[in-house]
Structures are given as structure tokens and as C-alpha cells.
Symmetry: C2
Subunit: 154 residues, 2 copies
């Protein structure tokens, strides 16, 4: 496991970091993309594309259609500034863009929050197991459903 520092951003700094990543990838950082990113970042838990479309519409004062949101989310996910929570059909910002782990989401069945943890050993072990089965892994999906600390075990 490589030793490295996570730079965790929030608020405007996070948006700025996302902009840098997108531009470094040769993509444009448009006003709309910025608005969608900020909208997504403002959610405390995974947000569906339609949630984002609605909130972003309010933010920018006009209707933003779901398909535009999907286009932008696809770009974000491809460039690792946002993540998709597969078991929820929803999205989260990546709080340390530029740091590409196989990430693990702990999804609380009670409050709906998803916390993101990194553990390279698990991702590496999973990739190794897959390769051992003659499979060439590209994208692991590792999510755990359960109860977060705040929601207890009951």
C-alpha cells in the first residue's frame, strides 16, 4: 500500500479541486458543470440524478433536465470527481479527487448516509482474486449495507 496523503476538500475548495481535475483531463469546466457539482456536494447523502436535477434547477433558476444531469454526472464519474453508489442508483462527490482508490461505501439502511472509506488491501485482494479466476478487472464495486454508528445496531 503506497504511503500518501489524502487532501480532503470541502465547499468552495472542493469545487475548485474538481475544476482542476476536469480541466487537467482536457475537459471544460462550464458554469453548468460547476453548478451541478456544487449541488451534488451540498447533499449529505447519495443523491439520485433526479434529486440533483431538481436541486440544481432551483439553484440556477430554470429547469435543468435529467438527461443533462446524467451527461454531466457521467463526466464526473469518468474523471473520478464523483462516484456512483451502484446499490442505490445515486451519486456522491469524491472528497479527494485526483486520488483514485477502489473505494468502499458503507451505506446505512436506516439514515441513508454513505460513508466512503479506502482500504487498498481489500481492493487489491479483490482484484487479485478476480485475476485468479481468469478475469481482467477494471472497476470493482464494493459497498456494504448495514447500520452506521449513529444509527446503532438495533
Amino acid at each position: 500500500m503506497s504511503v500518501h496523503t489524502h487532501i480532503t476538500h470541502s465547499g468552495p475548495a472542493l469545487t475548485e479541486a474538481a475544476r482542476a481535475v476536469i480541466e487537467a483531463a482536457g475537459e471544460q469546466w462550464t458554469d453548468l458543470r460547476s453548478d451541478v457539482f456544487a449541488t451534488l456536494a451540498a447533499f449529505a447523502r447519495p443523491a439520485s440524478a433526479y434529486d440533483i436535477a431538481e436541486a440544481a434547477s432551483a439553484r440556477i433558476g430554470r429547469r435543468l433536465a435529467a438527461n443533462s444531469v446524467y451527461r454531466i454526472l457521467d463526466l464526473f464519474v469518468a474523471n473520478n470527481v464523483a462516484r456512483r453508489v451502484e446499490s442505490r442508483n445515486a451519486y456522491l462527490v469524491n472528497e479527494h479527487p485526483g486520488c483514485a482508490h477502489d473505494c468502499i461505501f458503507l451505506v446505512c439502511e436506516a439514515c441513508g448516509e454513505a460513508t466512503h472509506i479506502d482500504d487498498d488491501r481489500l481492493g487489491d485482494a479483490l482484484r487479485g482474486t478476480a485475476r485468479g479466476a481468469g478475469f481482467t478487472p477494471t472497476r470493482p464495486v464494493i459497498e456494504v449495507h448495514g447500520r452506521c454508528g449513529g444509527c446503532g445496531t438495533s
Copy 2:
């Protein structure tokens, strides 16, 4: 990791094993459930509820609505005779029902097939990591997207 034998069924024997599990759980094994199970088992890759509804309709010679299929699939998943592939919104039969692992799916991006592997060490490690983060895991979702052996690495 416990030492045990996997009894892998196929065809009628698999359906029979599923029946036994469902009945042992105090649920009924109706003709319709049997038909839906056999229909699902006949798919070589993860099948959506609507795929199953269509194929089962053909099999039984009348329209079977999606909601009925969902009800039955929910029952199957709850009793571990079928599994849901979260990143595909699709279902697979569990070829060794009664053996409840945290299962891992290798989902081929080229041919769409999903192979099911077991590795208790990975599931246990993942649960342990989750607990280390103050989380009480109930259901891990472990899926890997990539290329299967038959589809190569290109």
C-alpha cells in the same frame, strides 16, 4: 474459513434444491414460483425482472406481470436461492442454495456474463473493515466489472 463442500446443482436438481429451501423457510413452492425459478435458471447471464417476466410469460402461455415477478424474486433473494447483481439491476440463480456466502460477482463488460465466486476471506475482511469504522454490516455487495477469460483483455 470453514471447510465445507459446495453442492452445485443444475437443471431440475437445482429447482428441486430451491424448492426445499423455500419450503424449509415455511414458504409455499407454488407452480408460478417454480416457473419463475426455472425461467431464471435458464438464463446464462443476469436477467432483469422484465426479461424474466417476458420469458416466463412465454413459458406458461399467458401474461405474467412484472410486479408478480418482483414479488417472487424478492422472496427468492430473501431466501438466498437467487441473487441480485446490484450494478446491473438484474438477477441470477444461486447455484448452491443453502450455502450463504458473501458472494462476489465478476461481471463481464463485453459479453454480459456474471460469474459467481466465493472467497470468505474477502467478505470477512470487508466486514471487519466496516466494523472498524463503527459500522454494523448486514449485506456486502462485492462486484467486479471487467473482462472475462473468454472475452480477453483487449
